[in-house]
């Protein structure tokens, strides 16, 4: 009887078999992550594991920044202080007016028995670094699950919308910028209330407003604010200012590009806003419509992260 010779060196499957197996595994991972968002636990546990090393890696940069801050000239600090004080004075009048308006709105909404829709308290977060990914525009901030951050929260800075939280880790979370390709925000023109959708162009940090008819009343310099109809962004946040409008009668749609209001590339602190209560901005719907709508909402919730 012929027996197989004993294996002196256990070698396992051949490299080709292994590479086939691991390629299939990687593709399975990608499909699971991209289509079904099924690997959040893997992502979360790996990010917890690597958190100490990541912190260690950002330490030298932070130390340099701290030292630079410490030696910042007295003169510059004084000037900054004076400017900020002037800004506070300017804004305090607006803030008082807003308080009045808010109470009026509260009275009115109490009468119509709908939920509040303006977000007024958020979580301030520090921007840690831009995500190391040459394909997308994301930033990483220092608040995560432990600070009850969740995916979908809008992110603003002092002058407008920065983006949206798209991925939450334990201590950090990723914010996709409004200038990222296919990142869309429902907006309206402040001047005339015209509704539109602002879509990030993905290049040179600008925002496009697609699908606006050539006859639409949009001019250079118009300011787009969030309209709030999506239930994600509270209404009234400044998104972008129109920089150019090209109307060519040969095309159905005008070509409108805008520049983001927020300093999308140079901020240090941002604010993460809670999402408005579900259905906050939606009008009261009829019962049969409501059941259909909730089914649609569920389908959408499945699709979106």
């Amino acid at each position: 009887m012929i027996r197989e010779p004993p294996a002196f060196f256990h070698r396992g499957p051949s490299p080709l078999a292994r590479v086939t197996f691991f390629t299939l595994a990687a593709i399975a991972f990608m499909i699971a992550d991209h289509r079904f968002h099924a690997l959040e636990t893997v992502r979360l546990s790996l990010s917890v594991l690597s958190h100490p090393i990541q912190q260690l890696a950002t330490m030298p940069g932070e130390a340099v920044a701290r030292i630079a801050d410490y030696f910042a000239s007295q003169d510059r600090l004084l000037r900054e202080n004076r400017d900020l004080r002037a800004q506070v004075l300017e804004q305090s009048a607006e803030a008082q007016e807003t308080r009045l308006l808010k109470s009026e709105v509260a009275h009115l909404t109490a009468m119509t028995s709908s939920n509040g829709r303006y977000a007024d308290h958020g979580t301030v977060a520090e921007v840690l670094y831009a995500a190391r990914n040459p394909f997308t525009r994301k930033i990483v901030v220092d608040k995560g699950l432990t600070h009850s951050i969740h995916a979908g929260m809008p992110v603003i800075d002092g002058s407008g919308v920065v983006g949206q939280v798209t991925n939450v880790g334990t201590f950090t979370s990723e914010v996709t910028l409004v200038t990222e390709k296919d990142q869309s925000v429902p907006v309206m023109v402040v001047r005339n209330g015209l509704r539109a959708i602002a879509v990030g162009s993905g290049k040179d940090g600008s925002i496009d407003i697609p699908f606006m008819p050539v006859s639409a009343d949009v001019q250079t310099g118009d300011v787009f604010v969030t309209s709030g109809i999506d239930g994600t962004y509270p209404p009234g946040l400044v998104v972008a200012e129109v920089t150019s409008v090209q109307k060519n009668a040969a095309y159905v749609f005008a070509k409108i590009s805008a520049k983001p209001a927020a300093g999308v590339d140079y901020y240090r602190y941002v604010m993460l806003l809670p999402q408005p209560a579900p259905g906050a901005a939606a009008p009261q719907s009829k019962p049969e419509e409501a059941s259909r709508k909730s089914a649609r909402d569920r389908a959408r919730a499945r699709r979106s992260p």
Partner: protein, 177 residues
């Protein structure tokens, strides 16, 4: 022809295996370099330290580290670079496969030729990631995208010098003790 000279050509021809600790800490060090806050142009120029260290150990300790470790480290890089899970994993596995196939051939060359071989390996790995992202609808980040794999191949010589000499030093110390 030389007469029979029985002194060994090099002292480390019969080399013992590198310690698992050295492999582990070199990978941790590479990861540490990779997750420094690179951004903008620096990001496009960031050499893939983790890949080059994996390739080093696959070349020199093929029984200690292989495609499984490359896959796991790739997943880790995907998480820390906030990419789709599996992209780096696939790229690393492909790179390690190429290195495994050409291992003996690559080791027969000097540093310059090895760097050229590794340029092919890193380009292949980067092209895998690029193709995947283009398939997923990203824009082409420009020809500057290939600066990173080129620099990855260029850091081969210093990485080799650091890791090889530390591995050999450890062995010599062990031999003299």
């Amino acid at each position: 022809m030389r007469s029979a000279d029985l002194t060994p050509v090099a002292r480390d021809v019969m080399k013992g295996p590198a310690s698992l600790g050295l492999i582990f800490f070199s990978l941790v060090g590479a990861y540490l370099l990779a997750v420094m806050p690179w951004s903008g142009g620096w990001l496009l120029a960031r050499p893939d330290f983790v890949l080059i260290v994996i390739v080093f150990w696959v070349l020199h300790e093929p029984r200690a580290i292989g495609q499984g470790a490359a896959f796991a480290l790739g997943l880790l890089m995907d998480v820390s670079d906030s990419m789709l899970l599996g992209q780096h994993a696939l790229a690393y596995v492909v790179a390690v496969f190429i290195v495994q196939v050409f291992r003996v051939r690559i080791l027969a060359f000097g540093f310059a030729e090895q760097t050229l071989h590794l340029l092919g390996v890193t380009m292949a790995a980067s092209s895998v990631t690029l193709l995947l992202n283009l398939l997923l609808g990203s824009d082409f980040p420009g020809i500057a995208y290939f600066v990173s794999p080129a620099l990855t191949a260029l850091v081969w010589a210093p990485v080799n010098w650091i890791l090889y000499s530390s591995a050999v030093r450890r062995r010599r110390r062990g031999a003299s003790a």
